[in-house]
C-alpha cells in the first residue's frame, strides 16, 4: 500500500449547511432506483464523481414544511469494504470524504425483506459508521409471496434504529419514509455484533490512535475507520486520509494477528453474520412452506440447458433488430432536421467563412453524432429492461463459460454486444462489471465490435465493389461480405481481449460471484428515466468533444483557401461563350448544369489544396502499401472524427454534393477514377476489401476516445486504445491488400 499524504477527513471550517443531506444506500437489486425516483419525483442531477467513473446522482425532495432536502444515491454494493471502485465510492460518500459531496446528515439503508440476511450484512456496516440511520425494509410483498413474514418492529428493536416496511414498486411506505427523513434525526445505534477478541483489541488500539489524528470523528466512526484500515487489502483507489505513522501501526497489528493465525478480514465478515443469522431467525416468521417461486419457474426455461442459449440469442436478435429497424425513421428525421437547419442558417447568413463553419463544420459535424441518439435511446431502453427484470444476470450466467476462455466473465457479454450498435453505450455499460481489470479489457475491445457508424462505409464500398451475385443462389455475396466484416470484428475483439488480459492489463484474477436476483416486473418509468439520463450523458460528453473536433476538421478542410482553379475558370468562360449562340431556354439549363459541375470540381480542388488534402498526401506513403491513394487518405483523416464522415469526405473529393452511401453518382465516379501515376483504377475490389478491413479494426471515432477518457479517468487508456487499434488496422489491411495481390486478386 502506498503511504499517502496526510489529509483531513473534513475541513474544519465548513459553514453550517441548513439543507439536510440524506444518503440512500443499499445492495444492488433492492429497488433503490425506484425509491430514489419516488422520493425525488425525478428532480435529479446525474454526473460523475471527479476523477472516477462512478455515477454521482443527487435528487431533491421537499419536507412537509417546504424545506428542500437533498438525497444522494450511494452506488449499490454488497459491502463497504473496498474491493471494488463502487464500494470505495459508497464508503466515501457515506463518511463525506468524497470530493464533490459533503457529509450526509442521515443515512437511509434499503434492505430487501425477501433476502434479509445478506442485506443486513451491508446494513450492519452502515450502522457502524455511527450516523443517524433509518432502515427501509423494502419488498415485504415479495417476502410474503415466498411465505415469509418480516416483522419490522422486531427488526427495529434488534438493530436499535427505526425500520420502515415498504413496497416501493407500488409506492407503499414511501410517504412514511418521506416523513421519517424529514423528522428528527434518530439516535445512532451502538454496535451489537461481536468481533474476534484479538482483532477487537487491535482495532480499539488503532481507533484510540485516531483520536489524536482525526478528532473530528465520533468514537464510532473512529472504530469503524480503524477496523476498515485493519481489514483492507490491496491499494486504495483514493488517497487515504491516514498518516504514515498510522499505517505502520496498522501493518504491525496485521502482522501480529497473522502470526496468531487470525485473519482480520475473515473475523469481520464472520462476526457480522454470526450476529445477523440468529437475528434474522427472530425477525422472520415462516408462514407457509417454501414452494417453487415464479422465478424458479421462469428460470426453468430461461436458463434451461437447451432453451436458455436459444432464447438468449433470440432476445438479443430482437433487441438489435429493433435498434436498427426502429431507429431508422428517427435517424432519417434527425438527418433531415440537420439539413434543414443548415439550409435555414444558410439562408439567413451571407456567404462566407462563418456561414461555412456553421453549416459544414458545426451543424454537419455535430449532426453526424446526434444521429446516433435514436439507436442509443432504444438500446438503453432494452438494456434497462433486461437489467431491471433480472435477465441481465442470467445472460451473464449463460455466457460466462465462453467469456472465461478469453479471460473475461459473463458480465462482459452485454457491453460487448451493445458495441454492435455503438461502442459508446457499450463502454458505458461496462460500468456493471465489478472487476476493474475485466472492465478495462472490455472497454478496450468493445470498439472492435462492428458499430452502426461503420455501416454507411461498408454499404458504400460493398455496393460499389462487391458483385451482386449469390452463392448457391441464395447467399448474396454482398450480404456475406457484411457478415464476414462483423465476424472479423468479433474475432479480433476476442483475440485482443485474450492478449490484453494475458500480457498488458495485469491484476488480480477475479472471483466470479454473481447474484441471480428474482425476476421482477420492471417499472417502466424507471427504465425510461435511466434511458434519458444515459442519453443526456452521451450528448453532453460526446457532444462537446465532437463539436470541437468538427470545428478543427472544418478548418483543415477549408484552409489554406485557394482561389478558383485557372483551368476551371477558362473552361467556364469557354462554356459561356459556346452557349451564347443557342436559344435562351436550352442555354440556361445547360449552363446551370455546367456551372454546377464546375462548382463541384472547384470544391474538390479546394479540398485537395487544403490542409486536409496535404495531410492526405502526407500520409500517402504510409497507406500506399494498403492500396490507398491520397484521396482515400483524406477520407481516413476526415473519418478520425467519426467513421461515417468518410462517406461525405469521399463525396467532396469526388465532387458530389451531399453524398450518402446510396449515391450512385459517387459510386460511378469512384469506379471511373484512374490513378494519374499508373493509369489503373484507384478503386478495385481489393482496395475496397483492404479499406473495409481497415475500418473494421481502426479506432476512427473521437467520441469513443472521449468516452474512454471519461470512463477510465486518464488519457493513458484511450491513447493506448487508439494506438493498438490503428496498428492492428494497418497490419490487417496490409495483409489483405498485399496477400490479395500475391494471389493475383485485384
Amino acid at each position: 500500500m502506498s503511504e499517502p499524504a496526510y489529509e483531513r477527513i473534513s475541513a474544519p471550517h465548513v459553514p453550517p449547511q441548513p439543507e439536510r443531506l440524506v444518503a440512500l444506500a443499499g445492495n444492488p437489486n433492492v429497488g433503490k432506483t425506484t425509491v430514489f425516483n419516488r422520493l425525488t419525483r425525478m428532480r435529479q442531477k446525474v454526473g460523475n464523481y471527479p476523477g472516477v467513473t462512478v455515477e454521482h446522482k443527487t435528487g431533491s425532495m421537499l419536507g412537509p414544511d417546504g424545506t428542500p432536502i437533498t438525497i444522494i444515491d450511494v452506488p449499490g454494493t454488497y459491502s463497504l469494504n473496498p474491493r471494488s471502485l463502487d464500494e470505495e465510492v459508497a464508503y466515501r460518500v457515506l463518511i463525506g470524504a468524497m470530493e464533490g459531496s459533503r457529509r450526509p446528515d442521515l443515512v437511509v439503508c434499503l434492505v430487501d425483506a425477501s433476502n434479509l440476511e445478506r442485506n443486513l450484512y451491508l446494513a450492519s456496516q452502515v450502522l457502524d459508521l455511527g450516523k443517524p440511520t433509518i432502515i427501509a425494509l423494502n419488498m415485504v410483498d415479495a417476502a410474503e409471496g415466498a411465505g415469509i413474514q418480516a416483522d419490522a418492529g422486531k427488526l427495529s428493536e434488534e438493530l436499535g434504529v427505526p425500520v420502515i416496511p415498504m413496497v416501493a414498486s407500488r409506492g407503499q411506505g414511501i410517504e412514511e419514509l418521506r416523513a421519517a427523513i424529514c423528522g428528527p434525526l434518530p439516535i445512532p445505534a451502538r454496535r451489537r455484533w461481536k468481533l474476534d477478541l484479538a482483532v477487537e483489541e487491535k482495532a480499539d488500539a488503532l481507533a484510540h490512535r485516531l483520536e489524536r489524528d482525526l478528532p473530528a470523528l465520533s468514537p464510532k466512526q473512529r472504530f469503524s475507520d480503524a477496523l476498515r484500515a485493519l481489514t483492507q487489502r490491496g491499494a486504495s483507489f483514493f488517497e487515504v486520509h491516514h498518516t504514515p505513522a498510522f499505517w505502520s501501526e496498522v501493518r504491525e497489528a496485521r502482522e501480529a494477528l497473522e502470526r496468531a493465525g487470525v485473519s482480520s478480514e475473515q473475523a469481520e465478515v464472520v462476526g457480522r453474520y454470526e450476529w445477523i443469522t440468529p437475528m434474522a431467525g427472530r425477525v422472520l416468521e415462516r408462514t407457509s412452506l417454501p414452494k417453487a417461486t415464479l422465478t424458479d419457474r421462469i428460470d426453468a426455461v430461461l436458463t434451461h440447458r437447451v432453451a436458455g442459449p436459444i432464447l438468449f440469442f433470440l432476445i438479443l436478435a430482437v433487441v438489435f433488430q429493433s435498434v436498427f429497424a426502429w431507429a431508422g425513421p428517427f435517424m432519417d428525421a434527425i438527418d433531415g432536421a440537420t439539413a434543414s437547419l443548415g439550409d435555414r442558417v444558410g439562408a439567413s447568413l451571407p456567404e462566407g467563412p462563418i456561414r461555412s463553419l456553421l453549416i459544414d463544420g458545426i451543424i454537419a459535424g455535430v449532426g453526424a453524432v446526434v444521429i446516433f441518439l435514436p439507436q442509443i435511446l432504444i438500446l438503453f431502453f432494452f438494456l434497462g429492461l433486461l437489467e431491471d427484470t433480472g435477465y441481465m444476470a442470467r445472460a451473464a450466467f449463460i455466457m460466462d463459460r465462453i467469456m472465461k476462455r478469453v479471460g473475461l466473465s459473463g458480465r462482459s457479454v452485454v457491453p460487448l454486444l451493445s458495441g454492435f450498435a455503438c461502442a459508446i453505450p457499450g463502454i458505458m455499460a461496462a460500468r456493471t462489471i465489478e472487476n476493474q481489470r475485466d472492465r478495462l479489457v472490455t472497454i478496450m475491445v468493445t470498439p472492435l465490435m462492428t458499430c452502426s457508424a461503420r455501416l454507411p462505409v461498408y454499404a458504400l464500398l460493398i455496393g460499389a465493389f462487391i458483385p451482386a451475385g449469390a452463392l448457391f443462389g441464395f447467399l448474396g455475396y454482398q450480404g456475406l461480405t457484411l457478415l464476414a466484416l462483423y465476424l472479423l470484428g468479433v474475432a479480433f475483439a476476442v483475440f485482443a481481449a485474450w492478449v490484453l488480459k494475458r500480457f498488458v492489463i495485469k491484476g488480480e484474477q477475479s472471483v466470479f460471484v454473481m447474484e441471480l436476483p428474482p425476476y421482477r416486473l420492471p417499472r417502466l418509468r424507471d427504465v425510461l428515466w435511466r434511458m434519458l439520463e444515459r442519453s443526456k450523458l452521451f450528448l453532453t460528453r460526446a457532444g462537446t468533444i465532437v463539436f470541437a473536433v468538427a470545428v478543427v476538421l472544418w478548418f483543415l478542410a477549408t484552409y489554406p483557401e485557394v482561389g478558383p482553379k485557372p483551368e476551371i475558370e477558362t473552361r467556364r468562360a469557354e462554356l459561356t461563350q459556346l452557349l451564347s449562340g443557342t436559344s435562351e431556354g436550352e442555354r440556361s439549363a445547360e449552363l446551370a448544369a455546367g456551372l454546377a459541375e464546375f462548382e463541384d470540381e472547384q470544391a474538390a480542388y479546394a479540398l485537395s489544396e487544403s490542409a486536409m488534402g496535404h495531410l492526405g498526401r502526407f500520409i500517402e506513403p504510409v497507406i500506399a502499401p494498403l492500396g490507398y491513394d491520397w484521396k482515400i487518405g483524406v477520407a481516413l483523416v476526415a473519418s478520425l472524427a467519426a467513421r461515417e464522415v468518410a462517406v461525405s469526405a469521399l463525396g467532396t473529393i469526388y465532387s458530389v454534393q451531399d453524398a450518402d452511401e446510396t449515391s450512385s453518382r459517387l459510386v460511378d465516379r469512384m469506379r471511373a477514377d484512374l490513378s494519374p501515376r499508373t493509369g489503373k483504377p484507384t478503386w478495385t475490389p481489393l482496395v475496397a476489401a483492404s479499406l473495409m478491413v481497415f475500418f473494421v479494426l481502426a479506432c476512427q471515432c473521437l467520441a469513443t476516445v472521449a468516452v474512454v477518457r471519461r470512463e477510465t479517468a486518464s488519457w493513458r487508456w484511450p491513447l493506448f486504445m487508439f494506438g493498438y487499434m490503428t496498428a492492428l488496422a494497418w497490419a490487417a489491411a496490409f495483409v489483405t491488400y498485399q496477400g490479395g495481390a500475391l494471389l493475383g486478386l485485384s
Binding site: S263, T303, P309, F397, I398, R401, F512, V513, E515, L516
Partner: protein, 78 residues
C-alpha cells in the same frame, strides 16, 4: 473431502471448510461461510458456472470457486 463442485443439482450441503489457504472474502461477504447451508440449483447450459441457493437467495459461482468450498451433504431436497 468433497467440495461444492461434487454436488448435483437438487443436492444440499453444509459448508465445513475451505480447501484453499483462505476463503475468498467476496464469498464470505455474500454469506458463504462455515455452517451455511447451500443447495445446488443447476449448472449453466455450458456446465459452468453453477447456481446455488443460500440464505434464501440465488448466487452463481464458477466451478473453480466451488472447488474451494468443502462441504458435508445433508440429504437432497424434496
Amino acid at each position: 473431502m468433497i467440495t461444492l463442485r461434487d454436488l448435483k443439482p437438487g443436492e444440499r450441503a453444509v459448508v465445513v471448510g475451505w480447501a484453499g489457504s483462505a476463503p475468498p472474502i467476496r464469498l464470505l461477504e455474500m454469506g458463504v461461510m462455515r455452517g451455511t447451508e447451500i443447495e445446488v440449483v443447476k449448472l449453466a447450459p455450458l456446465g459452468d458456472p453453477i447456481e446455488i441457493k443460500l440464505r434464501g437467495y440465488h448466487l452463481s459461482l464458477r466451478k473453480q470457486e466451488a472447488e474451494q468450498i468443502e462441504i458435508a451433504r445433508v440429504g437432497s431436497s424434496a
